[in-house]
């Protein structure tokens, strides 16, 4: 049917010059946007996803603000526990939002959606990129909602609009880094239920054994050693200082180093897992 067809067993025909580099770059962007749009549509159609991304974080805010909050002492924090809590909840929310990333990728793998997409002439990078973009948007929406609910229950940014925005940006970048880890686990494990179980195993300790909900000084010594030196604590300390005032620089550099390290390790791992996935 085409002019290039060779006879059986003859040498391989020259590939038609194919789309130019510029066209392919354009397609990489539009394909990513198409996948992003698809993922956001799916997210809005499923009540359970909305529940997971909106209701659960709000419940965490209310639970810690009104149930545990009274018992947790945070001496020297301007505005008391609710101010201490909100940056922590936001960090935890961003990390937990990536459950969705891992589960969605595992589902797509199981259902053969990724096979279908890989057999199409679309940009190969778009499935992962679109997933990360959509999940970052989703995460950002959740963070904004949590800030809103925080304001309703007494939280206030004490350090100016600029640093408030910087805190939200940092939380989003942090979430994106965790997203890369989750994307990798989702693709590497490839089974929805195992992915979910595995997510609990690493995400819960990582977020709760940090400065997110309580001052680390209230933990037993051996736990402090871990909690003081893990990335979630660095990031949340910086977010807290951005929101409420306090030293930023030292932990900011450690946070940046950790986040950069996570991107450098897990983004290529996720890409490799996607290429190998079957």
């Amino acid at each position: 049917m085409t002019a290039v067809a060779p006879t059986a067993g003859a040498s391989v025909p020259l590939m038609p010059s194919g789309p130019s580099l510029l066209t392919r770059a354009h397609w990489a962007v539009t394909d990513t946007l198409t996948i992003t749009r698809r993922n956001l549509l799916v997210w809005m159609r499923v009540p359970a996803y909305i529940m997971f991304t909106v209701i659960q974080p709000v419940m965490f805010v209310l639970l810690f603000r009104y149930v545990f909050g009274g018992a947790i002492q945070v001496p020297g924090v301007k505005g008391g526990y609710v101010n201490f809590l909100l940056p922590g909840i936001i960090g935890q929310t961003a990390a937990f939002a990536t459950f969705g990333t891992a589960i969605a990728l595992a589902q797509e793998l199981q259902k053969g959606v990724i096979d279908r997409l890989k057999s199409m002439p679309m940009a190969r990078s778009a499935v992962l990129a679109g997933r990360l973009v959509a999940d970052t948007i989703r995460m950002f929406v959740t963070i904004v909602i949590v800030v809103g609910v925080g304001y309703a229950v007494g939280f206030r940014f004490e350090n100016g609009v600029g640093l408030a925005i910087a805190m939200i940006v940092l939380a989003t970048v942090f979430g994106l880094a965790i997203c890369c880890i989750s994307a990798y686990t989702g693709l590497a494990i490839g089974d929805e239920e195992s992915v979910q179980a595995f997510g609990l195993i690493w995400l819960f300790p990582l977020t709760f054994l940090s400065s997110a909900f309580v001052p680390i000084s209230s933990m037993p010594g051996w736990l402090q050693a871990f909690a003081n030196n893990q990335p979630v604590t660095y990031v949340i300390n910086v977010m807290r200082s951005m929101a409420l005032g306090g030293p930023i620089a030292a932990d900011l550099w450690k946070s940046i180093a950790w986040l950069a390290g996570i991107f450098i390790v897990f983004a290529p791992l996720a890409v490799r897992a996607y290429k190998r996935a079957n």
Binding site: T2, A8, V12, T30, T34, V42, V46, K111, S119, N278
Partner: protein
């Protein structure tokens, strides 16, 4: 084969693939002329899906080569992807989205403009009888509708070569017939089709040529009629209701058939190829069984089915995998006529 200027749509030579210790493909050769249907028939685990995954660029082969529309699936994978469509064993659709949205998104990913993606989606929904359900979430669809939507998605890019991996597995009989009609109309419009199936009647119904695959090898290749010819004419079949008499019955007709009778001790079904001596053999069988004092049900002569072919070729029935038990172990003539040579002997 077709004219030299127009090479085959699919050409596979010596394709091998192993997963660790498991040799999924042990050197497969296939040729699919343009506009024809090749049915790849084999039990679960025979290597059908592995072959399809290599041909659709999802998996790299260990050895051999494969060309689709003249493009090498390894070195020219991007070009291959522009010419193919794939519909796999499960419906690879986004269930939360509507049928229309699913197809529009696929259209966009084939780089159609929005208006083109919309009109292509509408066209396919109409063609596949999904217009009424177009704006409903795909998860509300029946299994048959989901598979039709999946097939429609594989056609958005107007592929020259379509791969259908077990397109009717898990469908009820009515949906299956509906799917067959759709597949026939696709083929009528000139699409080359490679179809894998575990169902012998499906290959019989849809394919111009059938490649029988077992344990990663093509063990026979030919038209449905060719393959049936290998069994040796008609088949005499009957059921022995009294299971204690099954062996007696088998002995009674052993002299009548060409080759050993096939006996299923569980169901009491016995069949034997009788070549061209159909009615003569039938009369002999009635006498001989009567003399042996065996009562039978449904004694009849029939044209061989692909089940018989599979049994003749592999020594086990098609829809089971691995070790056949009991009477199914019986070898029949032609079992070890061996590998791809056997295939070439039957083809053309």
């Amino acid at each position: 084969m077709s004219a030299p200027s127009a090479g085959p749509a699919i050409l596979v030579e010596g394709l091998t693939k192993s997963f660790g210790e498991v040799r999924a493909l042990r050197g497969i050769d296939l040729t699919v002329p343009r506009g024809t249907v090749l049915g790849v028939l084999g039990p679960n685990g025979a290597g059908k899906t592995t072959a399809v995954r290599i041909l659709t660029t999802l998996l790299l082969p260990d050895g051999g080569r494969a060309l689709v529309e003249g493009y090498d699936v390894v070195r020219q994978a991007a070009a291959v992807r522009r010419t193919i469509g794939l519909s796999g064993q499960s419906a690879a659709i986004q269930e939360e989205l509507t049928g229309r949205e699913n197809l529009e998104i696929v259209g966009r990913l084939y780089h159609l403009s929005w208006p083109d993606a919309r009109s292509r989606a509408a066209e396919l929904l109409e063609q596949f009888g999904l217009s009424d359900a177009a704006n409903r979430a795909a998860k509300t669809y029946s299994g048959g509708m989901q598979r039709r939507l999946d097939l429609a998605a594989s056609l958005v890019g107007r592929p020259k070569v379509l791969f259908l991996d077990e397109p009717t597995t898990g469908l009820d009989p009515r949906s299956r017939l509906g799917m067959w009609d759709i597949i026939r109309s696709l083929v009528a419009s000139g699409t080359t089709l490679l179809l894998t199936t575990q169902y012998l009647d499906e290959a019989d119904e849809l394919a111009n040529e059938i490649a029988v695959i077992d344990h990663g090898q093509v063990i026979a290749l030919g038209t449905s009629e060719n393959l049936k010819g290998r069994v040796g004419g008609d088949v005499l079949e009957f059921t022995v209701p009294d299971r204690n008499k099954v062996t007696d019955a088998a002995e009674a007709i052993a002299r009548i058939g060409e080759g050993e009778p096939h006996v299923d001790k569980e169901t009491g079904v016995i069949n034997v190829g009788v070549g061209g001596r159909g009615s003569e053999a039938l009369v002999e069988a009635v006498r001989s069984l009567d003399a042996a004092g065996v009562q039978t049900q449904g004694l009849a002569l029939r044209r061989p089915s692909l089940d018989d072919v599979f049994l003749a070729l592999t020594g086990h029935a098609a829809e089971e995998d691995g070790e056949p038990g009991g009477g199914k172990r019986r070898k029949r003539r032609g079992r070890r006529s061996g590998g791809s040579d056997a295939g070439k002997a039957v083809s053309s």
